[in-house]
């Protein structure tokens, strides 16, 4: 029996799932987002806005669903679960990237030796009490020996031998050692951070020095031999302040500029004298350009000769 006619008529009755667009839709399946870059159809937009919006949205979502159903889908208790790929649309982060913590000395050792971290349970089983007791802290297993009312002592033990005190000192020493190591690790991490910063600073300094040497020749670097692997020099890109700024900001910039102009400390020539007389200029005029020392000598000689004359 030929059923192709029946099948064809049946499929004609079913709604279609194909979407025809001039420009293919841009589907970002990771964010369940579809972008339709086709221009708006002005006629249907003005004729019936809501219907037009709904029909474009339907087409877009149909394309999105087609992409979704093409993904690997796994059955689960609550229905089919589609595995999404990573999104392609770049979005800014809400917080900066996490800074990786400097590993401690033990962590480095464990990594080198391939030692897996095992989580220590807080409670351990006490055979004598037949109960779970705390490993440390109040009534902790690590203080068991200190609170014991009877101790086993070697026959040749000293008279003042105190096993409970010894256990306590040993525990305190362990705690102190741990604290010392913790502080050491902190100091090392800080040091490593400082070294890293110093290195980046040094790299920046070297780059700056190199850049300045490259333009410090007679031709300002224009006719110098180019070394292999030398990058083209990039100038500083000029940045302009926005033309519109808030009144507060404008006031601040103006005041900063004024403070640069005003003030005794900012003057280039310190020996200008007071505002009325320019002493430097006056000396130059009186001494006819010979300077202050010459003028002083002249006046002194003139005084001497006068005195001699009087004696005669």
């Amino acid at each position: 029996m030929d059923v192709s006619d029946l099948l064809a008529s049946h499929s004609a009755n079913l709604p279609s799932t194909t979407v025809d667009k001039d420009t293919p839709l841009d589907v970002d399946i990771g964010f369940l987002t579809v972008t339709d870059p086709n221009p708006i159809d002005q006629e249907s937009y003005t004729a019936n806005l809501e219907e037009y919006l709904q029909s474009t949205a339907r087409d877009g979502i149909q394309a999105l669903l087609a992409a979704l159903y093409a993904l690997p889908i796994h059955p689960s208790q609550d229905g089919p679960l589609a595995q999404l790929p990573l999104p392609t649309t770049p979005l800014p982060r809400a917080k900066h990237l996490p800074v990786s913590k400097q590993p401690t000395k033990w962590e480095r050792f464990a990594a080198a030796k391939g030692i897996q971290k095992v989580r220590r349970e807080r409670k351990i089983w006490d055979e004598e009490k037949q109960a779970w007791v705390a490993r440390w802290g109040r009534d902790g297993k690590n203080k068991e020996k200190e609170g014991q009312w009877i101790h086993q002592v070697k026959a040749n033990a000293a008279v003042d031998d105190d096993p409970s005190q010894q256990a306590k000192t040993a525990r305190k020493a362990r705690v102190a050692k741990n604290e010392r190591q913790r502080l050491q690790n902190l100091a090392l991490a800080e040091e490593a951070q400082a070294t890293r910063e110093a290195r980046t600073q040094r790299h920046a300094d070297i780059d700056r020095t190199l850049a300045s040497t490259r333009i410090s020749t007679g031709s300002m670097g224009k006719f110098d031999k180019q070394l292999e692997g030398d990058k083209k020099m990039r100038g500083v890109k000029r940045k302009f302040d926005p033309a519109e700024a808030s009144v507060e900001q404008e006031k601040q910039t103006s005041l900063a500029l004024l403070s640069k102009l005003e003030g005794e400390a900012k003057r280039t020539r310190k020996d200008k004298g007071d505002d009325v007389l320019n002493v430097r200029k006056a000396i130059r005029t009186v001494s006819k350009g010979k300077g202050g020392v010459a003028l002083g000598r002249e006046t002194a000689q003139a005084g001497k000769s006068k005195g001699k004359r009087g004696k005669r």
Partner: protein, 338 residues
């Protein structure tokens, strides 16, 4: 600035750790801030947008004297205090009636802002249709050529996408996809072109309107694997016009766009930049091929014997040169014979 808190117990320590920066971030929390004079339309619009954003939404329903474009310090404080990174501020003034400002932050500092005017708003209650379950992930639909070309609309798309769908998820229940948020930009005026800085597109008053619609999805069997989609409007329905905006500071944007380093798994999946000569075998081990240049076997130091020593008359270099020539000739001859 908030003081830095040192956790005093395990619970507060966990709470603080949850706020620390993560490689893959959680969904952004949005704060809906009511301004000093919000007005009925804006208040309703904010309420319904919040209903779409729940459960990652906080409402600041008292009157708040904030002007994001003039002084955003309160927003930055709230961002830190509430661990939120998106703000929707509703304010209605005579100059800018029915205004909604969307603010996005990075490290609790303002990244970018965009102001809308709500031209028309129809509430969810006006549509007597089934609604989506709160907290379900929406599908998003953006329709306009401007979303790829015009900076204002690129920012708008980025903001809306970040607000409603910005969380990266590994998998999604197909039955949980219940609603669609559709954003369509109206047609350009006849004299406008889509290029950046094109005619008339710099003036905010001439920018085409933005239509935000929300639909619920109904799937109808189509005889193929992919069902046919039918949409029913659910509300809210918003028509927005663009007003003021503030672009992100380039350096801050660069810092915000930094990606974490690719993990081995992702490289295996073929994500990121394709690396040459690296492949993953069936056992899941990454294998690389290294190309070593042709080795000069003439200089290979073998066992030293008296008979193999070069004699005084011949110089070392001559001997080696002769050997090299022979080696190079060898394969050529073979090929010729073949």
């Amino acid at each position: 600035m908030l003081r830095t808190i040192k956790p005093r117990n395990a619970r507060s320590k966990r709470a603080l750790e949850a706020r620390e920066p993560k490689e893959v971030e959680d969904a952004r929390t949005a704060i809906f801030v009511r301004g000093t004079h919000a007005g009925e339309v804006v208040q309703h619009a904010m309420k319904e947008l919040m209903a779409l954003k729940k459960p990652n939404a906080i409402s600041f329903s008292k009157k708040n004297d904030v002007r994001p474009f003039e002084d955003a310090s309160s927003l930055e404080f709230w961002a830190q205090k509430n661990d939120a990174s998106i703000f929707v501020v509703g304010q209605s003034t005579k100059k800018r009636p029915n205004g909604l400002v969307m603010v996005r932050t990075f490290d609790a500092r303002v990244l970018d802002m965009c102001e809308f005017g709500v031209d028309s708003f129809v509430s969810m209650a006006a549509f007597k249709t089934p609604k989506s379950t709160p907290g379900h992930k929406p599908m998003m639909h953006f329709a306009s050529e401007l979303f790829d070309s015009h900076p204002r609309y690129i920012q708008l798309k980025s903001l809306l996408l970040d607000m409603f769908n910005g969380e990266v998820v590994e998998s999604v229940y197909l039955s949980g996809l219940e609603h669609v948020i559709s954003v369509t930009v109206g047609p350009l005026l006849p004299n406008q072109t889509t290029t950046v800085g094109g005619a008339g597109l710099d003036d905010p008053k001439q920018l085409p309107k933005v239509h935000v619609r929300t639909y619920t999805v109904k799937l109808v069997s189509s005889g193929t694997r992919v069902p046919r989609v039918e949409l029913t409007e659910m509300g809210p329905r918003l028509d927005l016009s663009l007003r003021r905006w503030q672009e992100a500071d380039p350096e801050m944007w660069k810092a915000a766009m930094r990606r974490p380093k690719m993990k081995k798994q992702d490289v295996e999946k073929g994500l990121g930049k394709r690396k040459k000569n690296i492949e993953v075998d069936e056992m899941g081990d990454m294998r690389g091929r290294v190309h070593v240049g042709k080795q000069d076997l003439g200089k290979l130091q073998t066992r030293k014997m008296k008979g193999l020593k070069s004699r005084g008359g011949d110089s070392d270099s001559d001997v080696h040169g002769g050997e090299d020539d022979e080696e190079e000739d060898g394969p050529h001859r073979k090929r010729l014979r073949d």
